[in-house]
Structure formats: structure tokens, C-alpha cells
Symmetry: C2
Subunit: 264 residues, 2 copies
């Protein structure tokens, strides 16, 4: 009989969010478990967005899509209610941020679809377990993110540039990081670029478009991964009448194990 997976920490994180006890970021909660970004869209946009994700799997790796109007996500864990189980949400109307509630039961309706998108926490955990440095974790700040000149594959109303996150590494560590993160295609996978930032349209590496700048030390090169901010910025471009996302850093903690989503 296989060992029973202990999901109690993941379940507790969701229950605490639901009860309003947990309202802060989810980093380091339930180590070993996959966390996911959220985008909730009205049905009329959902089909195009699903196709957008399918066509742009590196920035938009879908770990689950809900049934229309159904807030449960049984493939991601026990008793999930996406309306309550994330610590903090962002509500957008016509592209403007209008609220940051901790519960969206009053906003949910029968025409909404929830998209859960893999996040870099999983591959960063694998990097750390392999002894690779993750600078923004060392420095206790947010990962630096940049808009690039790499287009996504436009689909319906959704289009826009790829956004990347950056982690500085020595060359040998960058090579190892390619190997380690290639195992995790459902959470962005291998890097999309390394070295000269200008080749992907980044003019000043010290000025990220999102998150915080981190130190690049002598002998290190910047290594760039496709980033889950891409779908958020693509949705923002569309300025949908109504949509909901997670608040940055406030993710859905799932029952999936990072090790179980590794392809090899």
C-alpha cells in the first residue's frame, strides 16, 4: 500500500483562509504542495482565455479549470471552494482594481469560470532542494519581473508581451537550473532566456516592471523564466467588465505535491 500523502497543512491553509484566520501571503505554507494563481472570468471570455492558455503554456500553465459556475476544484484537493479558500482576492471592473476582499461568495455567479495557473514556488522549491540559490528569497523580497518584446500567441481579445521573472545564477548553476526546472512544465518549466537582457527587450535590468530588483553578482548571468503575471497583464489589456484574481502572493494551496507534477 503506498504511503498516504499528508495533506493536512494544505487543507488547514485553505480552511484558515475560509475562516478569515489566514489573510496574508501563502509563501512557505504547506511546503511541498503546489500553489496556484487564480483568474476568474465570465463565461463569454473563458473559452478564448482557455485557448490562450493552451497556446501559451510556458507563461500560462493551467493546473485546473472549473466547470462554469462551479466553485469546487476536486482535482486540486479536498473540499475546495474557490470563493473562500484563497486568503485575499482582487476584484476588477473594466480593468480597474475596485476591491481586495478575503471572500468572494457575494460576487460569484453561475456564469463564472475559475482558472488555476501553476506558479514558480514549485520550481523554486526544487532549485533550493538542489542547492541552487534563489536570490529574491535570500534577499527577502519579491522576484523581479519584466515585460519583454516576446509576443504571446494572440487569441480572441487576449494578446500582449510575455512577462518573465529573473533569477541571477552562475553559468554552471544556470545549466543545472535548466535541468531542474525542465522537470516542471506545469509550473513554467525551463527558462526562456539567459544572458543579455536587451535581446528580449529589457533595457534596464535594475528596474523591473513588477516586483523588486535583486543583486546580480560578479560571474552571474540573469536567467529568465516565463511568468504567471503574463496572463494577468493580458487580461488587464482586455479590461473585462468584471473579473477576479488572487492578490499577489496570496495563492490557492492545493493538495497536489510538487514532486507529483515533476515529469521525470
Amino acid at each position: 500500500m503506498p504511503a498516504k500523502i499528508d495533506n493536512s497543512a494544505a487543507y488547514k491553509a485553505r480552511q484558515d483562509a475560509r475562516a478569515g484566520i489566514l489573510t496574508g501571503p501563502t509563501a512557505n505554507l504547506a511546503p511541498g504542495h503546489v500553489q496556484a494563481n487564480l483568474a476568474i472570468l465570465p463565461e463569454e471570455l473563458a473559452h478564448d482565455f482557455l485557448r490562450f492558455c493552451q497556446r501559451n503554456p510556458k507563461p500560462c500553465p493551467l493546473v485546473a479549470v472549473s466547470e462554469t459556475g462551479d466553485p469546487s476544484l476536486p482535482e486540486l484537493g479536498q473540499d475546495i471552494d474557490i470563493r473562500t479558500d484563497i486568503p485575499r482576492y482582487r476584484v476588477w471592473r473594466n480593468g480597474e482594481l475596485v476591491a481586495e476582499p478575503t471572500d468572494i461568495r457575494d460576487l460569484w455567479n453561475e456564469k463564472l469560470v475559475a482558472f488555476l495557473i501553476g506558479c514558480s514556488f514549485s520550481f523554486e522549491e526544487a532549485m533550493l532542494a538542489d542547492g541552487l540559490p534563489v536570490r529574491h528569497i535570500e534577499q527577502g523580497c519579491n522576484v523581479p519581473m519584466y515585460r519583454t518584446n516576446i509576443p504571446t500567441v494572440a487569441t480572441g481579445p487576449f494578446s500582449g508581451p510575455l512577462v518573465v521573472s529573473m533569477r541571477p545564477l552562475k553559468a554552471a548553476d544556470a545549466i543545472r537550473a535548466v535541468q531542474v526546472t525542465s522537470r516542471f512544465p506545469s509550473v513554467h518549466g525551463a527558462p526562456v532566456h539567459l544572458g543579455d537582457p536587451s535581446l528580449i527587450g529589457i533595457t534596464d535590468i535594475s528596474k523591473p516592471d513588477y516586483g523588486d530588483a535583486v543583486e546580480i553578482r560578479e560571474g552571474e548571468i540573469p536567467v529568465f523564466w516565463a511568468c504567471g503575471v503574463t496572463p494577468q497583464s493580458v487580461i488587464a489589456n482586455v479590461r473585462p467588465e468584471f473579473c477576479i484574481t488572487h492578490a499577489p502572493g496570496h495563492m490557492l494551496v492545493t493538495d497536489l505535491l510538487n514532486s507529483s507534477i515533476a515529469v521525470i
Copy 2:
């Protein structure tokens, strides 16, 4: 019943070498088959050299070691005689090249051990099959190789710097090349460095220590793999009383398939 592997082209290459019909390089002979570098050492050096290879698997990936005095290598193919089946050999005495025969039956003795070491042909074939450019093949010249400041793990009398081969690639192709060549640890595997050559002690990328310089185009970075010239240069440092290697480019064509040595 599994499909029978067609080894006829590999077998013919060896038989042609044995008959003196094939005396030139083996590149492009028997596509899909593993080719191997040769080093033949006297028994008194062989144990240390075997340990050297075990401790330096990236430059010295052993695909086979003969029994002492036995010129057959049954694990590498049908009816191999290492004294005749390579198109051209190099004979060294006290570190000096003294002959380049096509047959070493008269030099073989009961105290010699043959080492067969994986070669980059296998991973280059995988790169080409994946649509990645291999510049020295495009340019019809030898791969550029460089002595680095990276030491090997010294063992007995064997020591010296790592020698690397270089292939220029765009960053995204370099990332893909890490993935593709990681599948082939027995033929040098993933790169050891990429980007700034000075970080591994290479002062002038346009002046390789072995082979030919190749063009590095705009937007490309040099990508460096551990090279099978390392064991040759390490042996040369020892200036053994007697040893035999293959002549550069004149390899043993084995019955092993490149696909069969891929780890995933």
C-alpha cells in the same frame, strides 16, 4: 517481437577498417550509432586511469573497458577487434607521437587495456535532430576546443585542466541544448559552462587550443561541453613509456544506438 536493430552499417565500417579499405574519419558513418574515442594503456597505468575516468565522468565518460590483454569488446558490438577496427591509430612513446598506423596487431600485448570513451557525435546528432544548429558542422570544420582553468580530479599520475568544446547558440537554443544533451550523460551530457569564456580561463575565444575557430554570430553565446580531448591531454602529461590512441576523428563505430544511451 521487438524490431531487430540493423547494425550492418556499423559492422561494415569496422570490417572496412580491418580490411584497410577505410582509413579516413568516421564522421557520418553508420548514422545513429555510438562512436567512441580510444585510449590503450599498459596495465600498470590502467587502474589509476580507470579511477581517473570514474572521478571525471563529464570529460571521460567510459562506454567500455577491455579485459587486460583482450582486444575484443563484446558489449560494444559483434566481433570487435580493437587492434584492427579503428581506421587510424596514434602510437605514443614517452609522450611523443611516433606512428599513425591503420592496424596495431604487432603492437598489442597481454598487458594492455583499452578504454573506450563516449564522444560528442552522439549528442550532436541529437541536437541536429532537434533542429539546433551545430556551427562547426555547418562550416565543415573541426569543433573548437579550449583548455580551461577548471581542474580535473587528479588521480595517481593523472591530472590537468578540463578541455572543453564550444558550440555557439542563441540563448533559447542554449537552453534547449541543455535539455537535449542532458539525456546523454555517457557522451559528456549537459554543458559545463555558457557565456563569458574568461570565467573558465579562456582568454581568446577566436584562438582555440585544438580544432578550428568558428563564427559566433550576433545574439549568440558560446556554450561549452566537457571534451574527450581531456583524457588525451591528461595522458600526454604523464608521458607514458607507451600508449595508443585513435587518430582524431577516426573513431570506433559501435553497434550501440545513440537512442539506447539516452537516459530519458
